[in-house]
């Protein structure tokens, strides 16, 4: 009840703009020391600190049960936190919840929609719920952008899963949020919708919307995100610029299946930092993607010189996925 009514009618764009000019570095979401212990005693979040920058696409990665959804739910007001503070564009999510929540659109993981309403009615409902006056033109535009136009008067219950997902995105966008949370947006979504969705995310970002997404599909984060955060066991393990992360941790791996088992790595090959498998049957060589370090060719020459013969060889690029798996395993 703290939001002055006038606030709702002044264009949010203008307000954000002027604010960002005054304090350019102010994060749009600031999470500090947020913890969550559920009634069952499960400690879902342990003093999480995280800042989301205005206008970025932030990917939050983590295995199932890591606390991604709990964190999002706390910021959005669905789950009560046990400790810490969260501000959204400077508004505390408890004391100034109206201002904070009206900036946020949420597309949750589960497909939960008002089954018996028409598509257009559910979008209008969401817009009203977030305190915005009716705007048929805008709702029509969203319906068209999401390829829902043909289904606008269909009952939601008659739609396919992918279409329902589009409806949920439409609902989240209907009140013109400045921040959009996409919780596992592409789980169980076909290629076409996935591409549509990423096109939409890019458009939104261009229009100044901050996007926070969680995903299991790490290639998506790799493709879309400006920054990546990894959460595991309720703790933020790492927050890094995506390109920086790829550069730092991105690697190539070559595995050699040996003809004869080795007891130890020959001294002549020590400069390669090879790893010998426990059974001595294979060697693994890990090297930087953009490395100027000795490449594969010289290793192969040196292997021959050292009399190590191999049956087979394969190489693979470590993706963000492996980086992620490594981080999660070691955290």
């Amino acid at each position: 009840m703290t939001l002055p009514p006038a606030n709702r009618h002044s264009g949010p764009d203008k307000e954000i703009h002027s604010k960002s000019k005054a304090v350019p570095m102010q994060p749009i979401i600031s999470i500090s020391g947020v913890s969550k212990i559920y009634a069952s005693g499960f400690n879902a979040l342990k003093a999480v600190n995280l800042e989301i920058r205005r206008g970025e696409i932030f990917a939050l990665l983590g295995p199932n049960g890591a606390g991604k959804t709990t964190l999002i739910s706390i910021v959005c007001g669905i789950v009560n936190r046990s400790g810490g503070t969260v501000t959204v564009d400077g508004h505390d999510i408890s004391t100034d919840y109206r201002a904070a929540r009206s900036l946020i659109g949420l597309v949750p993981q589960e497909l939960t929609v008002e089954a018996f309403e028409t598509v257009r009615a559910t979008l209008n409902f969401s817009r009203g719920l977030f305190g915005k006056p009716p705007n048929p033109e805008l709702v029509d535009k969203i319906l068209k952008d999401l390829s829902l136009w043909d289904k606008r008067d269909a009952k939601v219950t008659t739609l396919s899963g992918g279409m329902k997902r589009r409806v949920m995105i439409g609902k989240a966008l209907a009140h013109e949020p400045q921040i959009l949370f996409l919780d596992e947006p592409t789980a169980g979504v076909d290629v076409e919708l996935r591409q549509d969705m990423w096109a939409m995310v890019r458009r939104l970002r261009e229009s100044g919307v901050t996007i926070i997404l969680t995903t299991h599909y790490i290639e998506e984060a790799e493709e879309m995100a400006d920054r990546v955060g990894v959460i595991n066991h309720g703790e933020i393990v790492l927050v890094e610029d995506k390109t920086e992360l790829m550069r730092k941790l991105g690697r190539k791996v070559m595995r050699l299946e040996l003809r004869q088992k080795l007891d130890a790595i020959p001294a002549a090959l020590s400069k390669y930092a090879l790893e010998l498998a426990k059974d001595g049957g294979s060697l693994t060589y890990t090297y930087d993607n953009q490395s100027e370090r000795p490449g594969v060719a010289s290793l192969l020459r040196d292997l021959e010189a050292a009399g190590v013969q191999f049956r087979d060889l394969d190489t693979e690029n470590s993706s963000l996925e492996e980086i992620f798996v490594n981080l999660v395993r070691h955290s």
Partner: protein, 253 residues
Amino acid sequence: MNRHAIWAIYRVEMARTMRTLLQSVVSPVISTSLYFVVFGAAIGSRISEIGGVSYGAFIVPGLIMLSLLTQSISNASFGIYFPKFVGTIFELLSAPVSYLEIVIAYVGAAATKSVAIGLIILATASLFVPLHIEHPIWMLCFLVLTAVTFSLFGFIIGIWAQSFEQLQLVPLLIVTPLTFLGGSFYSIDMLPGIWRTITLFNPVVYLISGFRWSFFGTADVSLGVSLGMTLAFLFACIAVVGWIFKTGYRLRT
């Protein structure tokens, strides 16, 4: 005040009523007609008058109350339980709406519907028996007050319930018996001494008595007591709803 949100919820809830028009409106009309046939015609022919009022007319306020109570509870409890059940509640919880606004919207919609049903039953009843309403303003006051109070009560049940069975439990095991035993179809003066005293612990007695007074100017208990008990129940429900929202009981984990 987020009036757009109140209006949005209210409209969705009313749309649900319109979608289920047959169940929402036609069924109370049919059941009222059946009550008239059974109680009015069959029993009424043996009971001629109660307190100077023909038996057929006497049961009208009780019948309206019976529907008002059950409809208010079922509408309001279903209205908030269903989003919880299918998961769409997340949107309500993440929206910039205050608890007060949520209650106004849901309870307002449920009460609107049950008042409408009450008036439809009244119209149906007037086809069976000649009716003269002594205090129409009071009649409307009791109608609205009871609808709001029991819609609040239903809202509480809807938040408390964790299964469809629990949703039906309170109306079935508590409210319906209390209504039937609360003098819908008889004056509590007709009961033997001890039962009359026991009946006075039934809050529904006061609702029906006050409502009946607005029709005929006579009542089992005084108007002041009726009104007082109704308001007391209203404030009790408001207090519980306040507590629910303060603690996030079964809404926010």
